[in-house]
Amino acid sequence: MTIARLYRSLAKAFPHEFKLAYGDDMLRDGEASIARIAQRRGFAGLLPLLADLVLRLPIEYLNEMRHDIPYAFRTLVKSPGYAAVGIVSMGLGIGLTTNLYSTAWSLLTRQLPAAQHASRLVTPEKPVSWYYIQQYRAEKNLFTGVAAVQTSVQFNVELDGARGTKPQRVFGQIVSPDYFSVLGIAPERGRMLSADDQKPGEAPVVISNRFWRSRLHADPDAIGQTIQINGQNATIIGVAPPRFDGALSPAPAEIFVPTTAPPAMVPELGNNVLQQRNAKAFAALMCLAPGVTIDQAEAALDGITRRLDKLDPMAPPETAGGKRVSLLAAGTRALIPRKVKPAILGFYFVLMAAVMAIACLNLATMLLARGANRRRELAIRLGVGASRFRLVRQMVSEGILLSLVGGAAGFALAYALWALYAHTQLPAGAPPNPDNSLDWHVVAFAFVLALLSGIGFSVLPAFSATKTDIATALKEGAVLRLSGHRCFGLRNVAMGAQVAGSLMLLLVTGFLVLGFMRGQSLHTNFNQKTMVLLAVDPVRDGYTAEKSRSFFEQLPERLRQSTEVRSFALAAQPPFPSTDDEDDHQLTAEASHIQSGAARQKVGAGYFSAISEPMLAGREFQQRDERIATDGSGMAAIPVILNEKAARALFGGGSAVGKRLRDDQHEYEVIGVVPTLKDAMGMTQAYAYLPLTQRDFVQPPPGGITIIARGHSAADALVGVRAALTAMDPNLTVFNVETLSEYVELTRAHLRTVLRIYGGIGLFGLILSAVGLAGITGYAVAQRTKEIGIRMALGAPKTQVLGLVLREGLALIAAGTVIGFLGAFTVAKMVSAITKEFADVFQIGTNDPRLLLGAPLLLAGLALLACYIPALRATKIDPLAALRQD
């Protein structure tokens, strides 16, 4: 009868002690009950009987463990060295993993806080125009709502009452009034923006909880207060729930300004951005209708977008194939294309797993060594009738206790890292750090991690230790072990794996750090401190189109006259940008039909001489190019300058100058080739440089026209430019004034924090494995005390003893190094194969001899040191004392 069999096997699963006392009675009573109940009430009546067993099982185990834990505690107190190694290892491992989990991992995976619709949010990868968003909004069967968003917008905010003080630079988002209802966010205080806020010209704003607490000191009367945004009055109507820092961007937003606000307050909304069908200024935040999958939505949206594009006379002709729209899930803080999501998550997972594996291997090898040392104690306990399972449980309890204490230490470490991160001073003007405060998710994560690794990595050593031939163990004594040398014993494998694992970790993090750092040092052919960047937008200052055009025509002449300004250029954005994506624009070589992507940058006359880049071929833009290319319409070809990377992709080795190119809108003529420049993030892209046009002067881009000027020093250049501008119009607003080094610093501030984390991980991995190796070698020496004593008594010199201990360690280190090397390259290649961002970085890192030689040498050196200290102790063994032992 199956029920009876099930009952018996469940009853057998009870703890050994319990079974000894009550097992037989329980079996008999159960069987008697089964027969009776089955007769009277059938099988359904037996369910409570089985449920009773299942429910009591964990209770009885916990009861037994109650004795195990204090016992384990006493054992650990008696061997503090062992406990210290275990706790330090687990603490470092869990601390780092928890830190990674609470930062990168949660940015990638945790849903937006307080947003009820988080799981249904999607966004197209590319920005779209307001007109398209309105069309998308009409698709009620696809989306319950579509909001328009501009992320990471800077505002100058003056709080009421503090007028006259310096305005604070605050990062925020420009959102359509339905933003919060699309997200499903309810106000913490006041109200959120709603459809009633559609009246243009009014400026109700919502502030984030962080803004409310840090800048308004959690003022209960904040609702209704007036603040100045870019010099205009705005009213605070609500406070967003805690931890909500805006969607679609990991950079926290502190203020949410509606798209109905006047352009005077929000210059980004100027130039009739909302009316222009082609002004792709917004990210669309969409909430899928129930039952619609992201794939269905993507397919449908692709069709709709094609239709819209076709109706638009200005839009590119419908080219064959290719997706117009690809959707991203938008429910998390950091957005990643669905294609590469597994790779990125996998990378972080491997990183976390590697850290944890090294820590756990430490614990496992220590437990193994300890098990070997406790052979005699274990043999005695087995001899007097303890069950093997009971001993295993005892040893596992020790492992759990160690890892739990280590987990607590690890959480403290994670907290310290977080505090360090939160209080890192960022350069003024950089967006604030995301709020990654540790919450109960992280506590639970650390706890479960500690518990699982404690159990997981002590079971095997425990079984290995209790697999003992009692009789020989009792005869041999505790420490002398004469088992044959095994190449692939558990201990050797564990130690080799540890060296391999930590070298792998060190190399991979080293690749990342070096790759980023190398890219970080922006190479320019001039002193970066002599360049100043500033922006002007005469149209925003009330100029008419004609006046603006003539302003920009006269400006170069004025600047040339300035004695302080040595060289200058105009551009549509600061130099070395890292925002454009080469995949967005396809160019086709007219003769060969070779197609290749190139990012775009609009630069004015004399740009390349201003940044001291030589022309590899052809000439650079002159002021007449700016006049020729008005709209491109009617003109034969727009002059374009390619960088080397783009030229090579499109024309191979041949000369590019004079060749024709086209995209889906215009025809171009290559007039020059420049070297491939690295952007501020260290990436290189294929670039097509286009000239500034009259249209740019009449309708400057959102950030204004950037004036790039160099002088004897940045301050000099600034004085010169300001003087020239003042002479033309004293009332003109000059903004975003910064030196090139400040600008570069700003774009890299976050990168540096990330680098510090990666560097820390590699370093901690190194410390971890050194601690583990020292521990294990120490045990090996302790185990061989008697043998070493005999050798020394027979006249072995100290060097021979030293060599004996070191030789074993060396072999393992060598094997581990080789495996670690191969592993690191495999990981680097795999990740590079999938994502472009990592590929560039690894490309630099994997070619750096400092790392390729340095990392293994560093690790081997540390490992040798870790073996050397116990080996040195071995030479100090007093032969007499060793022989007298036992």
């Binding site: 009853a11 319990f18 009550y22 009675d25 329980m26 409570p48 009773d52 099982l57 009861n63």
Partner: protein, 116 residues
């Protein structure tokens, strides 16, 4: 001593039933199970794992102990372990009964005060 007894109160229902069954004399596990079933007219069934788990806890608390005395040979099931109350167990049981009695009295008084 009173304090020590108080610390056991109130007893969990299973513990109370087991102590009550042992009040009459020593008994083995299965006997206790049957006794409780009869006394409560089938309403309370102590399933084996709960029964022996509770017995273990009562033994650890020294409220019951294993009895060396066996019943008359013709009734004896030699393979089974018999349990009986310790003096402490008996006092705890008395105290719990008194507590429950007081509760019942209180209910009666309340009923009389509030006519139905």
């Amino acid at each position: 001593m009173t304090n020590r007894i108080e610390s056991y109160l109130p007893l969990k229902p299973q513990s109370f039933h087991i102590l009550l069954s042992l009040a009459a004399g020593e008994q083995h596990g299965y006997g206790i199970m049957q006794d409780v079933l009869e006394r409560t007219t089938g309403k309370v069934r102590l399933w084996p794992a709960t029964l022996y788990g509770t017995i273990r806890r009562l033994m650890e608390a020294e409220l019951i102990e294993e009895s060396p005395r066996r019943p008359a040979p013709e009734l004896d099931d030699a393979r089974r372990r018999y349990y009986r109350l310790t003096p402490l167990g008996r006092r705890v049981l008395d105290a719990e009964c008194a507590r429950l009695q007081a509760l019942v009295d209180a209910i009666h008084t309340k009923r009389r005060m509030v006519p139905e």
